[in-house]
């Protein structure tokens, strides 16, 4: 009774204060969120709609304003372009293969780091370098490491007796694609490991000890306790990584510029080539937009797994 009486009292007091409306959570909330929403609407929402229009228009860099509406012309032209199909195939294959490799390398690494032996911090710093160094700078370093004449990779390979000849990594379509995947995996495995490690440390030691007492061996403990607990975390982490792998053009652009003979383009680098370097903004936007169906599936799954964990 006393409590319910005090509530109108507070209402009255705030009602008489000058910043009346700001004291209401709904109003204050909207006021505080509005600028961020506005920024996102103007510089993400609007450009996104613009991308849709551009993809249906013949806009190029020389066009002032927006180009003429041409319906699905850009998409029809793309479906007849061999490079587009190669880029689409590369994008999907590249993303899937590197996701699997990153998962494997990352899992093993996570277990090594979880041992937390002396010196782990310094190892962690070194092993995280691929993820923490700006991707453009490491990609150009890899180009130098895979140089036709002075490749350090080839030198080490020969010294260890793995390589007999001097493969031209970036000059051969298959080897070039392998190189691109390798650099992407190199860049992403530390992230996979760190995400996994974060998940593993969230599994409480008591639960593991209890299972041990109940006679569960290491394999059972891993399968029945660790995996179910870290699965959602790993899932969000790898989806996040997948989105970036699917849409990243930096590695391709700096290692091969899509070559040799356009064999290593992914959709992102092809969109850049067409949209910026050839100046066909509309056609380029159409290519980038075709990433959307793939991304939507990925985002939809992320959304569901976030909801399920009640965020």
């Amino acid at each position: 009774m006393a409590e319910s009486a005090s509530v109108p009292g507070i209402r009255q007091r705030t009602a008489s204060s000058p910043s009346l409306s700001l004291e209401r959570p709904g109003v204050l909330g909207s006021v505080l969120v509005a600028p961020a929403i506005f920024y996102i609407a103007v510089l993400v929402g609007w450009p996104f709609l613009l991308a849709v229009y551009l993809s249906l228009s013949n806009t190029d860099v020389a066009t002032t304003g927006l180009g003429r509406f041409v319906g699905l012309d850009n998409f029809v032209a793309l479906s007849q372009s061999d490079v587009f199909w190669v880029a689409l195939r590369n994008t999907i294959g590249f993303a899937l293969i590197s996701a699997v490799l990153k998962g494997l390398l990352g899992t093993v690494l996570a277990f090594l780091l979880a041992e937390n032996l002396p010196g782990t911090r310094i190892f962690r710093f070194i092993i995280l370098l691929p993820w923490t160094i700006p991707i453009a700078l490491s990609s150009i370093t890899w180009k130098w490491m895979l140089d036709t004449q002075y490749s350090i990779i080839n030198w080490i390979g020969r010294a260890l007796g793995i390589l007999q000849s001097n493969p031209n990594w970036l000059g051969d379509p298959t080897l070039a694609m392998i190189s691109i995947i390798a650099v992407n995996v190199w860049r992403g495995f530390p992230f996979a490991a760190i995400i996994l490690l974060a998940g593993m440390t969230s599994v409480s030691q008591e639960v593991l000890d209890a299972a041990k007492v109940d006679g569960a061996g290491p394999v059972t403990r891993f399968r029945k306790i660790i995996v179910p607990i870290i699965a959602p975390i790993l899932f969000v982490g790898s989806l996040y990584d997948l989105v970036f792998t699917l849409t990243d053009m930096t590695i391709v652009f700096l290692l091969t510029v899509g070559g040799p003979a356009n064999s290593t383009h992914v959709l992102a680098s092809f969109a850049f080539l067409v949209g910026v370097q050839s100046g066909a903004l509309g056609r380029g936007a159409a290519i980038a937009l075709l990433l959307l169906p793939i991304l939507l599936v990925v985002v939809f799954i992320t959304l569901r797994s976030l909801r399920r964990r009640d965020l």
Binding site: S30, L43, L50, L112, P130, T132, G284, R307
Partner: protein, 293 residues
């Protein structure tokens, strides 16, 4: 008692087993460190190795050779290219992005974490999702937007564009951070006669300085990680940021100035890496949505 003894093998072989496991773990870690560190080591060697040794197939590549070390590549980088200007530009852009991000993300993060208004939850997820809208989808229409704003080929283009990914992510991070501050502190301040706005300014903001610092560092490093926007929106040498400057201006036709290229990558990349790895744990918490305690 007997059971306990039986469960553990004799002391000596147990020590051996622990030792063997340690050796295995260290061997594994060394393997990973070699793979991860090789490119950075290679940057280091290339930066300080004279051209005659660098481009000599007979010299041992993994260390310095008879001609020792040289500062030529670094000198060339600083004196004959715009490296100094690019570094300055990078700092300008990143600092501006940090300020913009804080102004937009801190209030939004607070509101989403604390003020329970209708749709706040969906809005939070919605904002995080915009972080996943990739630059690849946006860079072409943004060419138009940037041109309309009169910012094409100017640093301003990047200052406007980078918050499109820093604001969503940092709002999400800040919301998570505000959730960790107990409600009672705010309530106590309001009991003592503070208005809600007063409580935010006088009590909550000082308590969230650590969170804001984290967010600032992230906005900074995320801006420095970008490649696509900087490559698309800027082409004049004196407006370039360091990532783009290094990978575009040290290549003339078919000639790569590898020594200076690697010097640039080393000088620009390693400080970012150090900064980033200090704050990485917060970043991971942000991505996993606070599920990780």
């Amino acid at each position: 008692m007997a059971a306990t003894v039986a469960a553990y093998p004799p002391r000596k072989s147990r020590q051996l087993r622990v030792l063997r496991k340690r050796v295995l773990v260290y061997a594994g870690l060394c393997f990973y460190a070699l793979i991860a560190g090789l490119p950075v080591y290679w940057m280091l060697i290339t930066t300080f190795k004279p051209d005659q040794d660098l481009y000599n197939l007979r010299s041992f590549p993994l260390f310095f050779n008879e001609r020792g070390v040289t500062m030529d590549h670094v000198t060339l980088l600083f004196n004959r290219t715009g490296f100094g200007v690019w570094i300055k530009n990078t700092f300008l852009v990143s600092a501006a992005v940090v300020v913009i991000t804080l102004i937009f993300a801190v209030p939004a993060g607070y509101a989403l974490a604390r003020l329970r208004f209708r749709g706040a939850e969906s809005l939070t997820i919605g904002i995080f999702m915009t972080y996943l809208v990739p630059t690849t989808l946006l860079f072409l229409p943004l060419v138009k937007v940037i041109a309309w704003l009169g910012l094409f080929d100017k640093l301003g283009a990047l200052i406007v564009a980078y918050p499109t990914f820093t604001i969503p992510f940092c709002t999400w991070l800040m919301a998570g951070f505000f959730k960790t501050i107990p409600f009672e502190i705010e309530e106590a301040a309001m009991m003592d006669g503070c208005s809600r706005v007063g409580a935010i300014v006088r009590v909550i903001l000082p308590l969230s300085l650590a969170g804001m610092l984290t967010v600032a560092i992230f906005a900074f490093t995320l801006s420095m990680q970008d490649f696509v926007y900087a490559l698309t929106f800027v082409s004049s040498s004196d407006q370039k940021v360091v990532n783009i400057g290094v990978v575009t201006e040290l290549i003339r036709g078919d000639v790569f100035y590898w020594g200076s290229l690697m010097a640039g990558a080393l000088i620009a990349g390693v400080p970012v890496a150090i900064l980033y790895s200090f704050f990485l744990d917060y970043f991971i918490k942000g991505i996993t949505g606070g599920a990780v305690k």
